[in-house]
């Protein structure tokens, strides 16, 4: 068979996904999360618990969704370079149950943290939009619909692989049996899956952009019910794409040696991934600046207070975090990713990815904290507990996500074996 060795190599990869240390790392991170939740809810800082949960939830639901968005982008653009990263991106769907549970907890506890419930008079027609019940259904339904579409996309992407007899024989678990059920005419089924993916790919991207714009309005922007910005949704979903790409960088670095990924990802391809991360760093900043510039120019009090509270006001401690956040999500990635040496080193690239993710996490904290926290003093030390709790809860989410993600990775082929574009890259691809 033409690609027999390639198939054998890919199918053998699933046995190497786990490492003996994974369980202890996962447990340690999970423990951090538990401590974080305890600190946040019982640490004596009112609002810190819901803040930590909100920030962790927004990050989780975003990362769970953007992997499929990247897979859809790779599919539409027939990106040869992106094919080896596709499965690692798609497997982000493993975080969807976790994201939904976190969101459900936020919805159920809404009466305790939603600031607009305490506002008597909502301006700008928001009294019709910010209604408990309608808000609950809207956020849950938006996320469920987006996830359903993403799962449909990955179903067809993975089912196409399961049209191959070798794949069906290798993955006989429940997921494998479900993905490979009823395949009689493999070629016809593969063609059908490809046609479905052609239709679903643009839909996944459009629905993601719309849905996460609405989630941004409902989960973050509505925390300040008197403030609004039409660009806020775009800034939010772009920031998740940025974080998602940084997560793909991190995941491939962690799995690099275990899975011998150099067989599939050549150095130019790794640099392509780093260049895309650089591009998203710029786009992310562009959306931030577009929003900031218009507010700065118009100088209208109903818009400026939001920025002043978070970046300038000496009576509040948040301005201490502004520059570190900007440095982490823009200046450091921008300055370092200009250099080929950083793009060529997996270690340095991973460090940049971690800094970028931390920067976006910090930005989300700054966006949400002033509306949820009740602080006694403008001192930055007052922020220590909520910030530490948020960071710990985020680590806890990673701890829970690791086994879910790994379990999914062992249930599917780690490279898109039915994808002609991927197979073409493996036939004549350069591997210096």
């Amino acid at each position: 068979m033409k690609h027999a060795q390639l198939f054998a190599d890919v199918l053998a990869m699933r046995d190497k996904v786990h490492s003996p240390r994974d369980k202890s790392v996962s447990l340690a991170l999970g423990l951090c999360g538990a401590i974080g939740l305890l600190l946040a809810f019982a640490g004596g800082s009112p609002g810190a618990g819901w803040l930590a949960l909100l920030v962790a939830t927004t990050m989780t639901i975003g990362v769970a969704a953007v992997g499929v968005v990247f897979a859809a982008i790779f599919h539409i653009t027939a990106a040869r370079w992106g094919r080896p990263f596709q499965r690692f991106a798609e497997a982000g769907v493993a975080l969807m149950p976790l994201g939904l549970i976190c969101l459900l907890a936020l919805v159920l506890g809404g009466h305790a943290w939603l600031p607009w419930l305490q506002v008597d008079h909502l301006t700008g027609g928001k009294h019709a939009w910010l209604v408990r019940g309608f808000w609950d259904v809207r956020v849950l339904l938006t996320l469920v619909c987006t996830y359903a579409l993403s799962l449909t996309f990955v179903y067809y992407a993975w089912r196409r692989d399961f049209c191959l007899g070798e794949v069906r024989a290798a993955f006989t678990g429940r997921l494998g049996a479900w993905l490979g059920r009823g395949i009689t005419d493999a070629e016809r089924e593969m063609a059908r899956c490809t046609r479905r993916l052609d239709v679903l790919a643009p839909a996944v991207i459009i629905v993601y952009a719309l849905a996460f714009s609405f989630l941004a309005f409902d989960l973050i922007m509505a925390l300040e019910p008197d403030w609004y910005s039409t660009l806020f949704g775009a800034w939010y979903f772009i920031s998740h794409l940025f974080v998602g790409l940084a997560a793909i960088v991190l995941i491939t670095t962690v799995l690099w040696r275990r899975l011998s990924l150099e067989r599939f990802v050549s150095m130019p391809r790794q640099r392509d991934l780093a260049t895309l991360l650089f591009a998203f760093c710029l786009v992310h900043m562009d959306f931030f600046w577009s929003q900031f510039l218009t507010i700065w120019y118009a100088h209208l009090p109903e818009f400026t207070f939001y920025l002043i509270d978070r970046t300038l006001d000496p009576a509040l401690p948040y301005h201490h975090l502004t520059w570190p956040a900007l440095a982490a999500f823009f200046f450091i990635p921008f300055g370092t990713l200009l250099f080929r040496r950083v793009k060529s080193s997996r270690l340095l690239l991973s460090a940049v990815a971690i800094i970028a993710i931390s920067g976006v996490l910090l930005a989300r904290f700054i966006e949400a904290a002033p509306a949820l926290l009740t602080l006694d003093s403008p001192s930055v030390t007052g922020l220590f507990l909520p910030l530490a709790a948020t960071a710990l809860v985020a680590l806890g989410v990673i701890g829970v996500a690791i086994p879910l993600y790994q379990r999914l990775l062992t249930s599917i082929p780690l490279m898109p074996l039915s994808d002609e574009v991927f197979l073409a890259t493996q036939t004549h691809e350069e591997h210096p």
């Binding site: 130019p268 600046w289 900031f292 510039l293 700065w296 120019y297 118009a298 100088h299 080929r340 004549h428 350069e430 210096p432």
Partner: protein, 180 residues
């Protein structure tokens, strides 16, 4: 008498990238001079072998981008100082909006510098094109490797190219002093 006047030129025709790359590697291992490589598509692996150094174009891009940033900011600042346009009590020289001009000029001048740097360092347009070794098929579906060696090495080079997978090997009759 120069070394070029005592040399022979051979041209290998290849159907696949990997055989071309293999031939370049073998030729370099045997210290034969690689005069040129022809390909209808960019081949990073071949490029890395024939010019392993890093391109100096990046310095031109950086300088151009920096000039664009300074120029764009300077243009915005100087015109604002000459033609004061006070908007909503904002300072005359305000960094926030001028960053947009600075950013756009960085991209514009950086991109133009890259193009110019590439043309200069690649010595384009190459006025002596087509070279004696160029064949029309190298712009279609074949790859070419032009090697130079001493006359007594012709047979060995021919064998090397054939063993690497060349479909055809030509011994070129080139007026000495051709491009290398």
């Amino acid at each position: 008498m120069s070394s070029a006047s005592r040399s022979s030129d051979l041209l290998g025709h290849f159907a696949h990238v990997d055989t071309l790359v293999e031939a370049i590697t073998a030729a370099q291992a045997n210290a034969y001079e690689v005069c040129d490589v022809y390909s209808p598509v960019p081949v990073e692996a071949a490029q890395a072998l024939i010019s392993p150094g890093r391109s100096p174009v990046r310095f031109v891009t950086f300088a151009g981008g920096l000039c664009g940033l300074v120029g764009g900011m300077g243009l915005a600042i100087i015109t604002s100082l000459i033609w004061n346009l006070v908007v909503a009590g904002k300072p005359i020289t305000a960094v926030v909006p001028f960053m947009v001009v600075g950013f756009e000029a960085t991209i514009l001048i950086g991109a133009i510098s890259t193009l110019l740097g590439m043309l200069i360092f690649a010595q384009l347009p190459y006025r002596r094109f087509p070279t004696p070794a160029y064949r029309a098929s190298f712009s279609r579906d074949r790859f070419g490797l032009w090697l130079r060696c001493a006359p007594e090495q012709v047979e060995a080079v021919q064998r090397l190219l054939e063993e690497a997978g060349a479909e055809k090997v030509e011994v070129l009759s080139i007026a000495q002093g051709g491009r290398s």
